[in-house]
Symmetry: C2
Subunit: 255 residues, 2 copies
DNA sequence: AAATACAAATTTGTAATACAAATCTGATAT
DNA sequence: ATATCAGATTTGTATTACAAATTTGTATTT
């Protein structure tokens, strides 16, 4: 026998039942609104007690896959795809590494919507952005007032018209603020340096390119706007020597 | 009284307890590995039966927020942020609108990592990409063999070194394939037209820009590579007239 | 015959009890 | 001091019971 006994993750009956319920739903091609057999039937069919079945059902209910009303029984629903995500995106639950990855995720996503922004934006949208920029000028070192910062970026996401992107941004945005505050000491010198060199790109600059419908300009401006974060991410990687990065860095980076 | 009685979503005790458990964890600033009071204590403290408590705990267990081993009790864990997401990202569970939004999400993300790819890519990575491209040439109409297609894009994500991005891609990728198959009738004419006009951008083209470390070139190439999908997304929006889009289109789009 | 009122049955939500399995603790014996 | 064994603790599972809500069916009345 092995002498290591790490993380004896016992797979419980509830885990199995949960999985079987998902299979039940998908294999029968049930559609939203379809009824699901009542608890006693299900428990009997799966050969488990009602307690175990209900623990599994409770999970599906949390995800929004099913809903139940007394007497009417249970029905299949279309879940919000970020329902579970929402519950764990919390700096007090996630570790620093995950949070930093999320920050990188958000930045990539925001760079990626630049093109769609130019394609979709209306004059009304631009007027709104103008308003937001005027109401919340840069306070210090590329740090905007929190509300203005949020409004500006949120508005950009809104312009894509993609509900999944919008919702994701809403959930992840607070993480940006958290990382910013927690690692303030990293950001400040980076920002000072960028300011000295006149390399800071403000919301005003970004808006300028949007007004001109200048796709390439917007992409570049956005990338520069996130420069402090990117530098931070690079610093963090080399400093903490985190494993996931180390793996991909193992390979020779020449040239 | 109102005559509509839509979706009388009853908030159950389990819902409350779930929420209280999250609050318990965050308010006490518990860290990964910290013990959690045993079930009887918790049930008593929250004033509910052990059954209700366990239904709530079952949800946290599913998300990976807690783990429990017999006798040792329960401990706090760092959840995989996409644990819940993973369970519902399934074309048989999600509706078409959500799937199409997800496709748009993935494309935006992939456009957004272009810059990071050039910054991080090593010669070894390029050799691997070269291999993938050689092994799986375009079969027909910009449709690669499924495995090659997956390998190529996966490799690009891998280069970012961002675990959250990598995992997200792995979960969402199948959706691309699904949408592609389901709406094949939309894609084919679009592809034919692009091919006629010589506007198709292949993996080979993309790799070319990567080899030259040409950031701007890569971005443009990638955008063109996704052109069929973008046209599809535009068509879908105007055809289905989906509400979420309609809202953002309500505003006058002049110029 | 129709409409109203009332009773019964069904289904989920909650509680309580019981016991098995696993494993940590401590005591006892050598 | 070490080894062994019994007991206690904690989660996993099953069972029973009942409350609440709502649909369905029945009966009564006009």
């Amino acid at each position: 026998m092995s002498d290591l006994k790490i993380s004896e993750k016992t797979v419980t009956l509830v885990d199995h039942v949960e999985s079987k319920l998902f299979k039940f739903i998908t294999s029968r091609k049930l559609r939203v609104g379809d009824a699901i057999p009542n608890e006693n039937e299900l428990a009997e069919a799966l050969g488990v007690s009602r307690s175990v079945l209900r623990e599994a059902l409770s999970r599906l209910r949390m995800l929004g896959v099913i809903e139940s009303r007394t007497r009417r029984g249970m029905v299949l629903c279309e879940p919000n795809m970020f329902g579970g995500f929402q519950r764990v995106i919390n700096p007090l639950i996630l570790g620093d590494e995950s949070l930093i990855n999320l920050l990188g995720f958000r930045i990539a996503l925001e760079l990626g919507i630049c093109s769609a922004i130019i394609d979709n934006i209306t004059d009304d949208d631009i007027a709104e952005l103008d308003d937001i920029v005027k109401r919340g000028p840069a306070v210090d070192l590329n740090f905007y007032k929190a509300e203005s910062e949020y409004e500006f970026h949120s508005k950009l996401y809104e312009v894509t018209g993609n509900q999944s992107i919008i919702q994701f941004q809403e959930l992840v945005y607070p993480v940006t603020q958290f990382v910013h505050n927690k690692f303030r000491d990293y950001f400040e010198p980076i920002n000072r340096k960028l300011i000295r060199n006149g390399q800071i790109v403000t919301h005003d600059d970004i808006l300028h390119f949007i007004k001109n419908r200048d796709k390439e300009g917007l992409k570049t401006a956005m990338e520069r706007h996130f420069e402090p974060y990117n530098r931070f991410l690079t610093v963090k990687r080399t400093v903490t020597g985190d494993r996931s990065i180390a793996v991909s860095k193992k390979k020779t980076k020449t040239r």
